[in-house]
Amino acid sequence: MAEPVIPDFGRGSSCVRENGTFCWDWVNSHWGDTLRPALVQHVVLTLIAVAVGFAIAFTLALIAYRRGWLTTPVVLVTGLLYTIPSLALFQLLVPFTGLSRTTAEIALVSYTLLILFRNTLAGLAGVPEEVRDAARGMGLTRRQLLWKVELPLAMPAIVAGLRIATVTVISLATVAVFIVNEGLGAPIYAGLQQTFKTELIAAGALCVALALAADALLVLAQRALTPWTRFARSA
């Protein structure tokens, strides 16, 4: 058996070799193969979790709005799920759904339910009674009242909930690396295994930037959807 050819893999810069606090050159050369894919996966994980979580929580909130008795059990269950630490919840799901994206998504969705449910319901409940009276006085049916009056007025609270949920998921999706090697948790964990400061800081900073960007975008969306609140704010 002949000895294999071992190519020269290239030396890392001295910054990298000495594990300097932050090496831009590494970030530049590994953006495409390490950081960007992780970022994209992270965004996808988050979007799916928030979308599914919102669908579930919103539906539950609408039902609970009509049937008040539902509120307490839903809050209890979703609150329970929210309180279970993420690492624990991921592992508790593994026997059922294995080491897959599904497991990660189920856990992430669970963390959104309480906030989204609570805020939607609170937003609806916070609509002033006079407005409802006026609307009923104008002859609106209950359904019209809900969709044309109450929900739009509940928007700020709903979007506030979306903001909190989104940022929470972005943060927790890093822990999903213990289940499936995707998302920004992957370079974080890899960086941890080498105590490679640059990778840790780069991936961590990306995660923070992602959360801030998502939060800001949602604020813009809320402003676009509820132009009348602009006046309330400057008052």
Binding site: P4, I6, F9, V180, L192, Q193, T195, T198, A213
Partner: protein
């Protein structure tokens, strides 16, 4: 309003930065290799069912995973890579439950942790024979071993070695109580604390469980006295650490063998096995060390390193 304007600017800057990042410098596809030049020659893997390859939770495994994956893909096979599954126990469980179809395992670990066989074999071939027998009884196949062996070793800082006159693991008995840092599974292993106690009589150990990779930092920081390391670790290049000899071979043989589900092996055809073996054949200790160092010290990505190596040896 100040709050609002600032938020707006923040959002625009962040969105701009993200978009620029996502669009520009976007040369790299995902892990390299798949888009390389079509080997117009044989593509025996085309049409075969997709395979899921798993790897355990440290650098060398990532490199091995990429090596096998890219070599298979060059032959037309469809490979899904589940990287960083966890330790042996998790990988074995994943294999048995069908979540993965194969993963690279170390023969010694396979025998002790998977087969539950604590016997110390006199030669690597004997160990391999025993492992193969067990595997076949349980629906798996062990493919031929790699030339390189990656065994556990105990590393200390040079000044600690001088202070306690340490040359071999046996010398640790005379040190008294010392702090040992290792991955958690080390505590239960024959190729770990259990073997050290049984063979060398070393029992007075303050065990500190550490994620793989943190041991070097802990050693440097003085948080532990002795670290469990792997002999092909990239960090060992450069002689910063002293490795204690293991004359009684507690740490055994740890050549790599791809553990494959027999059913999948048969479904994929003989070219599958041949491709994997062709890769295994060229993995010498030096090759592995250099690849590990490229990842661990020069911070190259495992996919890049694997691709370069395979290309240099005509395997992709």
């Amino acid at each position: 309003m100040k709050q609002g304007t600032l938020r707006l600017i923040l959002a625009l800057v962040a969105a701009l930065a993200l978009t620029t990042g996502l669009a520009a410098c976007g040369g790299g596809d995902d892990d390299g290799g798949s888009g390389s030049t079509q080997a117009a020659a044989s593509q025996p893997g085309k049409g075969k069912p997709s395979v899921t390859l798993g790897t355990k939770n440290f650098t060398e495994q990532f490199v091995l995973g990429q090596l096998y994956k890219q070599a298979l893909e060059a032959k037309g096979f469809t490979v899904a890579l589940k990287q960083n599954i966890g330790s042996t126990e998790i990988a074995d469980k994943a294999l048995r439950s069908g979540q993965i179809d194969l993963y690279p395992e170390y023969i010694g670990i396979f025998n002790t942790a998977v087969a539950g066989d604590a016997k110390a074999y006199p030669s690597v071939d004997a160990a391999f024979g025993a492992g193969k027998a067990y595997a076949e009884r349980h629906g798996f196949t062990l493919l031929p071993l790699t030339p390189f062996t990656d065994i556990d070793a105990l590393a200390v800082l040079p000044k600690y070695a001088r202070a306690h006159q340490l040359e071999s693991v046996a010398d640790l008995k005379g040190v008294g109580r010392f702090k040992l840092g290792a991955p958690p599974e080390f505590r239960q292993r024959e190729t770990g604390l259990v073997g050290m106690a049984r063979v060398y009589g070393i029992r007075d150990v303050d065990f500190s469980p550490l994620t793989i990779g943190l041991q070097y930092q802990a050693l440097d920081d003085g948080k532990i006295d002795v670290a469990d390391v792997f002999t092909t670790d990239g960090q060992l290049q450069g002689g910063r650490y002293v490795l204690l000899r293991d004359p009684k071979n507690v740490f055994g043989f740890q050549n790599v063998t791809p553990v494959v589900s027999t059913r999948v092996l048969q479904a994929e055809g003989p070219a599958f096995e041949d491709t994997l073996n062709a890769v295994s054949r060229v993995l010498t200790t030096e090759a592995m060390q250099r690849m590990n160092a490229a990842v661990a010290i020069d911070k190259q990505s495992p996919a890049d390193v694997a691709q370069q190596f395979l290309q240099a040896n005509g395997l992709v």
